[in-house]
């Protein structure tokens, strides 16, 4: 029998706010344990939550970017369960009245475009972090209370690759909206994965397993591959799937059962009496809608029409908002969009890949790149020199014109000097000259190369070519 999988994702995204969801403590990452804490986020007696309006705004912005319907009445609920990472032993979350409903994410897998529907987005507070030291454990409450947005998809993905593509697309949109840093190393995005299998053609979904707390996209991909195989094997060997929560062990490459449904928590949700409901007026939503950033697809189309760059270039550049912004700033400064695009798509992306750096970590600025493009276009430098200078700017910053001057990298465009070198090369390479005259075009390339060698790479290759042809009587 052939089986198909049904996959749904719950993605937890840390929002980019200065302070926590219900108190004034800082959300910055990497501080000493338990230094960003107060009676509220430690669950002290008598402390009360106060809503962070910015977190509400960022969630609504995300909802608008993802095509959700924004609830004009929403509320918070208490979700009760005992665990040491939970200061109050209940989490303030949203149960039946989330901020955003519906929406979806477009993905492309194997050249095929597909829209993955979403159920909802709700807002909640993050929990603390348990740290284990062999014979004892500690709890760092710095993370407790950081605003966390939970994006729940419909079970509309059928292959692990679709889940992976969904996550990448979602991350891109959230970065576009600037609602989260989406930094996976800092745990900004964590996923719970729901997965079931059913015989192909069957209309009913199979019993699902939930894989909890995956913090890499690769982990989602690999755990799903494993889990789908496991469930199919189980069914094929005559077994049944039990509804349960599982844990992914990346080192072993396996999922393990954590608890079955009989031991599932009864969260005893009820409305949080310490907070008022969230009532969003139409004009408040409209204001947020008006200030939305351009979506990736719209930006791509605009790059083609406004800058006249090929569709392929526009697609690559608009994939990351920061790259797109970098391109646009450079193109505006130098007026040479295609050259700017070429530099970013080749040199910039290659170096970023090699150094594993993000575009906001690199030293080169749009101003510097614009100048570099102009220098090359004005033939002050040739393309080899341009690449060399790009690497310098990428690693150390600075402005290209001064680097060219300091190092004497200016292209030799002086006709007299070039002619002198051309004559010398012709005299030294009679055989190639004969080949060229006999119609071998490749010989010209060799001769140009020789001129470049004589000039230590600084000759203007176009000028060298025309002078070579001229002196060889063509």
């Amino acid at each position: 029998m052939k089986y198909m999988a049904d996959i749904g994702l719950e993605v937890h995204v840390q929002l980019k706010t200065e302070s926590k969801m219900f108190c004034g403590c800082s959300t910055s990452f990497g501080a000493d344990p338990n230094t960003h804490v107060c009676p509220v986020c430690l669950g002290y007696p008598g402390a009360m939550p106060v809503m962070n309006g910015h977190a509400i705004q960022l969630t609504v912005t995300s909802g608008l970017m993802l095509g959700c319907e924004i609830s004009n009445y929403s509320k918070f609920d208490r979700k009760s369960y005992f665990y040491p990472d939970m200061p109050k032993n209940y989490q303030i979350s949203q149960y039946d009245k989330p901020l955003c409903l519906g929406g979806g994410v477009d993905i492309v897998v194997g050249g095929e475009q597909k829209r993955i529907g979403m159920t909802r987005i709700h807002l909640e507070e993050d929990v603390a972090k348990n740290i284990h030291f062999g014979d004892c454990s500690g709890i760092d409450f710095n993370r407790a209370g950081i605003p966390l947005m939970e994006i729940v998809s419909e079970p509309e993905m059928h292959r692990p690759e679709e889940a992976f593509a969904y996550l990448l697309a979602l991350k891109r949109i959230l970065q576009y909206a600037d609602v989260s840093d989406c930094n996976l190393e800092e745990g900004n995005i964590r996923c719970d994965v729901n997965c079931s299998v059913r015989p192909e053609g069957s209309a009913e979904l199979g019993t699902k397993a939930e894989i909890k707390n995956l913090n890499t996209f690769k982990g989602v991909l690999n755990s799903l591959k494993y889990e789908i195989d496991r469930q199919v094997e189980e069914l094929e060997s005559g077994g049944t799937i039990v509804q349960e929560t599982r844990r992914w062990d990346a080192d072993a490459g396996m999922t393990y059962s954590m608890r079955t449904k009989e031991y599932a928590h009864d969260y005893r949700y009820f409305p949080e009496p310490d907070l008022m409901p969230v009532v969003l007026e139409e004009h408040q939503v409209a204001e947020l809608r008006d200030s939305l950033p351009e979506l990736p697809a719209a930006k791509k189309a605009r790059f083609v029409s406004e800058y006249g760059i090929p569709e392929y270039d526009a697609g690559v550049l608009s994939a990351d908002r920061k790259v797109a912004d970098f391109f646009e700033a450079t193109a505006r400064l130098c007026g040479k969009a295609k050259s700017a695009s070429n530099m970013i798509m080749t040199e910039m992306m290659r170096l970023m890949g090699e150094t594993e750096m993000d575009i906001d970590q690199v030293k080169i600025t749009p101003e510097a790149l614009a100048e570099l493009v102009s220098l090359q276009e004005g033939r002050t430098i040739n393309s080899n020199t341009a690449r060399e200078i790009f690497a310098e700017l990428f690693n150390n910053g600075g402005m290209p014109a001064s680097i060219v001057e300091e190092r004497g990298l200016g292209q030799v465009s002086d006709e007299g000097a070039i002619v002198e070198m051309v004559d010398k090369v012709i005299a030294e390479n009679q055989k190639s000259v004969d080949d060229y005259k006999a119609g071998k075009e490749a010989a010209l390339k060799f001769l140009i190369g020789q001129v470049m060698r004589h000039s230590k790479g600084k000759a203007d290759p176009q000028l060298a070519a025309s002078k070579l042809k001229e002196r060889m009587g063509n």
Binding site: Y44, M48, P273
Partner: protein
């Protein structure tokens, strides 16, 4: 015999203003009263001479430098459920033994600003759950009017301290009657403000949608002074009301002429102790003589109030008390793993009434039961609120008994919690509806047990209930 701690706030403020006494004199007198009487009365869980004198001296310094804060130098005893920085806050529970408050509740911060001295921690039913103060993990508090009887609860320590001359004034909290009932039992004034009138920030929550902080005092005017200092919106409590705070004490009337007082017929029916009924009937006459017009009103959903209250209060309590787990503060009993530690800590740390209510609250919120209990209770709560809205269209305040009977004997109701819950019938409705109410001493039984009368007003109707209480208090010749 104490001379100063038996006085009212207004009397003491006059003496302080004249320079006849200092705050230190008052506090020393109060400490002496505690030292001589409290072994018998058991009103306080904790008091510190060093801490109180330090605050009193600071108040005296402020006064000398020309500060005229409204409560400058007045000691206030605080129910052990409110956080006062640097003082213990046990909620009369073993589970918070050893816990020292790390911040001031907003109400406390406001009182400090008004110059009050935080003079000690009063006994209470554990986590404010009870009507007799017998649920304290630490001690029994006795009724100063008859030491074989309970002071009421849960703010029994505060009421006993004020009535017994061990406190000038005190703070209590009222979730279902916990200020008004002990005030009635002990013979003092107890005010439950409207929900949200006083910030709850720093009040260890029992039932968040019902809890309110209020004063327990010797006179209505003293209650008005304390309310004025504590009331107002608070950015730390989203449920607090931002409406401006009137000068309650300055605006107390001297007549009830033109005031319509409603008499809810459901509160004056069967089941009322005959002596309590007699005091209430006499109170109605006093109000009429003071100029009030009386109208009969109906609160038809009263019979569902107790059930509704115990569903909502226990549900919220089950979540509110979940934080007491031994992880971050308070008592801890070691266990094999975290869950085992929680079980052992909570088993040892909570008393039987708290356990009973946490279990009840957990049950009513459980999957499959939520709609039948919690959701239904919230719907009935809306009906009860509407009852009051309709009644307040016909009158400005309601008059009713506070409790069906005077103070019980110690131990009398301990074995029958349901019977004890039913004693809350006239007080829980105000919490469910979010309205305000005051208990004012109205008379004595043949055994000289105090009986209070309750005036209820609409949300933010504190002026009306304080006004009615003040005129009644004078007309009844008690002031």
């Amino acid at each position: 015999m104490p001379e100063l701690s038996i006085k009212t706030i207004t009397e003491l403020l006059t003496l302080l203003d004249k320079g006849d006494i200092s705050s230190e004199d008052i506090v020393r007198d109060q400490l002496a009263a505690i030292a001589s009487n409290d072994a018998e009365l058991g009103a306080y869980i904790w008091s510190s001479e060093e801490d109180a004198i330090l605050q009193a001296k600071e108040a005296d310094r402020r006064r000398q430098s020309g500060d005229s804060a409204p409560l400058l130098g007045i000691p206030v005893a605080v129910k052990d459920v409110l956080n006062v920085k640097g003082q213990p806050c046990t909620c009369a529970s073993r589970i918070l033994e050893g816990y020292t408050a790390v911040y001031d509740a907003t109400s406390i911060a406001k009182l400090r600003q008004a110059g009050a001295v935080m003079a000690g921690r009063t006994n209470m039913d554990e986590f404010a759950m009870g009507s007799t103060t017998e649920n304290s993990a630490f001690k029994v508090t006795k009724n100063p009017a008859d030491t074989s009887r309970v002071p009421g609860g849960s703010s029994g320590g505060s009421a006993a301290a004020v009535a017994g001359g061990e406190a000038v004034a005190a703070l209590g909290t009222d979730t279902g009657g916990s200020i008004r009932q002990p005030a009635s039992f002990c013979g003092c004034v107890g005010l439950k403000p409207s929900y949200g009138r006083v910030s709850r920030y720093g009040l260890t929550a029992f039932a968040s949608s019902l809890d309110q902080i209020g004063p327990i005092t010797k006179t209505v005017e003293d209650a008005a002074l304390l309310l004025e200092a504590m009331a107002g919106g608070d950015p730390m409590d989203s449920t607090s009301l931002i409406e401006p705070v009137p000068a309650y004490a300055d605006r107390l009337p001297d007549t009830l002429a033109g005031v319509k007082i409603g008499l809810p017929k459901e509160y004056l029916g069967d089941g009322l102790d005959p002596e309590v009924r007699a005091v209430i009937e006499e109170s109605i006459k006093v109000c009429e003589e003071a100029g009030a017009e009386l109208v009969e009103v109906s609160l038809p959903h009263t019979e569902y109030a107790i059930a509704t209250y115990y569903v909502i209060a226990t549900a919220e309590a089950s979540a509110n008390l979940a934080r007491f787990d031994g992880v971050r503060y308070g008592a801890r009993v070691a266990g094999a793993d975290p869950i085992d530690m929680y079980c052992r800590t909570r088993e040892a740390g909570f008393g039987p009434e708290v356990k009973r209510r946490v279990i009840l609250g957990t049950y009513v919120l459980s999957s499959g039961y939520y709609d039948a209990y919690y959701l239904r209770a919230q719907k009935v709560r809306t009906l009860i609120r509407r009852d009051f809205e309709a009644a307040f269209k016909q009158c400005s305040v309601l008059l009713s008994p506070v409790t069906p009977a005077p103070a019980y004997k110690l131990g009398e109701k301990e074995s029958d919690p349901l019977q004890m819950y039913l004693g809350d019938i006239f007080t829980v409705t105000a919490n469910l509806a979010g309205i305000c109410g005051i208990s004012v001493p109205a008379g004595l039984t043949a055994e000289k047990l105090p009986v209070g009368v309750q005036f209820l007003g609409p949300a933010l109707g504190e002026e009306a209930v304080l006004g009615a209480g003040h005129v009644f208090e004078r007309a009844a010749g008690r002031q």
